[in-house]
Symmetry: C2
Subunit: 452 residues, 2 copies
Amino acid sequence: MKKILGTSLLLFGMAAFGQTKEDSVQFSKISLEVLNNGKGYNDLRELTKNIGHRLSGSEAYEKSVKWAEQKLRDAGADKVWLQEVMIPVWVRGKESLHIKTSNGGWKSLKMLSLGNSEGTGGKDVSGEIIMVKSMEEYEKLSPEQVKDKILFFNYAFKQSFIETFKGYSDAAKYRTTAASLTAKKGGKFAIIRSLSSAFDDVPHTGAMRYEDNVVKVPAVAIGSSTADELEVLLKNQKITAKLNSNCGMKGEKLSHSVIGEITGKKDQSVIVVGGHLDSWDVGEGAHDDGAGIVQSIEVLRTFKKLGLQNNHTIRVVCFANEENGVKGGVQYGKTVKEKNEKHLFAIESDAGGFAPRGIALDMDDTKRKQIQGWSKLFLPYGVYNFEEKFSGTDLYPLHDMGIPAAELMPDSQRYFDIHHTEEDTFEKVNRRELLLGAVAMTQMIYMIDKNW
Amino acid sequence: MKKILGTSLLLFGMAAFGQTKEDSVQFSKISLEVLNNGKGYNDLRELTKNIGHRLSGSEAYEKSVKWAEQKLRDAGADKVWLQEVMIPVWVRGKESLHIKTSNGGWKSLKMLSLGNSEGTGGKDVSGEIIMVKSMEEYEKLSPEQVKDKILFFNYAFKQSFIETFKGYSDAAKYRTTAASLTAKKGGKFAIIRSLSSAFDDVPHTGAMRYEDNVVKVPAVAIGSSTADELEVLLKNQKITAKLNSNCGMKGEKLSHSVIGEITGKKDQSVIVVGGHLDSWDVGEGAHDDGAGIVQSIEVLRTFKKLGLQNNHTIRVVCFANEENGVKGGVQYGKTVKEKNEKHLFAIESDAGGFAPRGIALDMDDTKRKQIQGWSKLFLPYGVYNFEEKFSGTDLYPLHDMGIPAAELMPDSQRYFDIHHTEEDTFEKVNRRELLLGAVAMTQMIYMIDKNW
């Protein structure tokens, strides 16, 4: 008995070792292929330089749909199609913000209207600025104090979090709610300090939301240093602000998410890898989320190029309209439900094309622990963090259907310097960092495909 | 007995927990102080923008000595002094490289002479280019084939390593040996493809060495894309290269490393944290190694600011002449030996101001394992890698004396895009990444100071 047990353990041990070794060899092949022959960086150059930013509803977005369709075919997808999505159309138009100090003329400030905000209809709207630095300070203001004023929410992005996404979440309520908070106390429009980890003059746009049954007043963002200067000015004097903007919602439009897949050799259950194809209407949407798009295409290309025999269908989804509606993600989830398509796993890359540090896991304990058991395989690639955490926005409908969801976790230090700004350009993306993200996602999908 | 044992274990457990908790609270205080109030980023702006690059022997280097002295005083050092170091003086001067194709005129190539290389004495030196892509190809060339020719070492930086330092080490021999290899077979000068992870036209300088008793011919570097173009041209035709350069060694000079310390409260044994103050004579020496200098000063500042009661002396060393001689490091080691100063630990930051991922440990097993036992404390700061590995160049003399040495390991993906080039500027450094490196070093020194 002892001997038999010994032999069994030995065999078991060998099998386990064999599997790990085989996986580690496969991990290495994936890495070599992507780092040496990866197309993701050049794809990103095309997307950002030939098309540029691509807000939902824009002509550029429609161009990017055609581009992604072609790229998926070039990467070797067995099947490529467009998924119809009704998307909201928001247009910025001309905009300007000026301030007047008690003893001077008008001075122009760098600004961006927040996404989904209404404008002033091309008319000047002006009033005295009142500053609050927190929600608590806002709560203390009476409607009399705010009436006909401009509310300036000067809440600084907290530098103290190690992961900048925590700083972003912490400050995000100011962006989403400033307009309605202003309107509820009778203010004319809201100015917010940008959700930015940088100390510069770059305004960051991003989605805001109007509360139901509250007047829709405009909301705009200014850069950190402009906010600091304004705060100093407000210490000694009354400041008038004047906004003129043409932005606003222009109804809805039929558009598309782009989907490509390689068919499963064993069954048709689906593993999703994706990013969002749309971006804000400034900069080039390079990190947000051109990176996620080209990485996802790279995953498919690498499976085909290496001839990996995928058991299940590997599907790339380039989601429409993540930035100001998440209509692509919602539509994808709805379609999965309608067609009753079995999904094994879904991963999104939507946190920038920086060097990967981990993969956030949003699924039940058993599955999460199984994946965490593979972590040693990822360590040589600098990927060590497999925390339970929020998965990508576009995947939430899938997550809510009980499908295990995940998100690539790149280093977060630089993201909120350039997020939703003119600075989110191709030049800010490093080739190796971008490709290593694709390596980690390909490796993870290889493991899921093999073991689930 | 059982009960007593139980109690002991409980007390031991509580003490251990208490210590960890206390440490984790202290780690958090350090991080908050540096991320919220850190001066390192502004210090780096001063060093790079007011002084700029600062090669050993230059006036700028002497300015940086004065600057570092003042910064250490401002940071609260109890004692600041200059350590005399005799340094080699290498000067670049004017330089140009042209090529002539069989049917065209002369075309100028972007180039940099390698550091420590001799020039052409301001005269044109020309000859036909022969390309080799590896040492093996070089070995196969006969002296007859090389005589009076220009040897072009076109060895490409390997993209396949995950840590780019491995790619750098792999390619480094071409930079250090190309000139003597060329001379030994009768060639006139050497051109190397830059040790670069980027696919651009930026030449990278860096130290080369002449073998004893071999003619000192010049060696220059060209950027990756220029090297690729030259390779294509050489397929169809003979190409002549013409070099004109004035670089060369100009003897030695007395200069200084800069040292500042806070005195140990318990004893005078020393913990060193440092970087090198010199840089190459192009760009601004921001990542290499302005980052290491300002991070080291930040460590001292943070100890003082938080009132941490350091048991041992914490000493910042800004080493002279790392880039082309390591005379500062050697002199420091020599002085430690002469004065018989007890050193507990030394850590250098000289791998760029990128987000930290680990601390390389170069010491005996017992000490290394003790440090590795602290790794959970570092994990929330993104610092997870405590491998046995080479410590900083300047610390080698200390390491050889048996002193435990370490080096900060930042993310390496972007470093060799800009290393030793015009592109190594302040703009390439991210404030948070830089400061997180200082956080990790301060935390490590806090642990060493407390436990050793």
